[in-house]
Symmetry: C2
Subunit: 110 residues, 2 copies
Amino acid sequence: MNQVFNQFSDIQTKEIAPGFFSKIIHTENNTINFIEVKAGCVSDMHQHINHQCAFVIEGTFELTVDGVTQLLDKGNYAVIPPNVIHGGRAITDCKLIDIFNPVRQDFKLL
Amino acid sequence: MNQVFNQFSDIQTKEIAPGFFSKIIHTENNTINFIEVKAGCVSDMHQHINHQCAFVIEGTFELTVDGVTQLLDKGNYAVIPPNVIHGGRAITDCKLIDIFNPVRQDFKLL
């Protein structure tokens, strides 16, 4: 159960992939992942049952979804359906927000 | 149905309250609201069935939830349970992200 007012500094930062430093919030139905990525670091192609929205708050991230590659920055975003293979690479240092529905139960094990 | 790659510039900006300029994304289960608020503008106290997470990306926003008031900036965030009365005021110009679950059907009528 989340309290109403929370501090990011109270969330442990986890390196969920090399160079991907996450602060992860689980609510009842969603997982929200605030990620800082170092330039050049890669998220290998993967898939999951969770619907995902991916937003770039700072920097430029090259995202590939179902074989189609596009550069994402503040001007655009991606909506990734369940079970679709995707991955990406930080072109610059980036700040990303991923929103997953339902909860990423696998992230609770990290 | 959302396409995978999207442009924020393709989303119509709606002034959902005076000084609150929103770009709203509906997915299957969530509504994601990117808001730019002018300093001094107020969101009157209100409530809804939707669970809400509120993040400040830029600026400082004074949020009141169930009678408790706190300043939010990049360092903190709020998790607002369903049906709890809340509202707030932009102390500075702000960029906010609100995530609602389930979809804010009322926003589709704006």
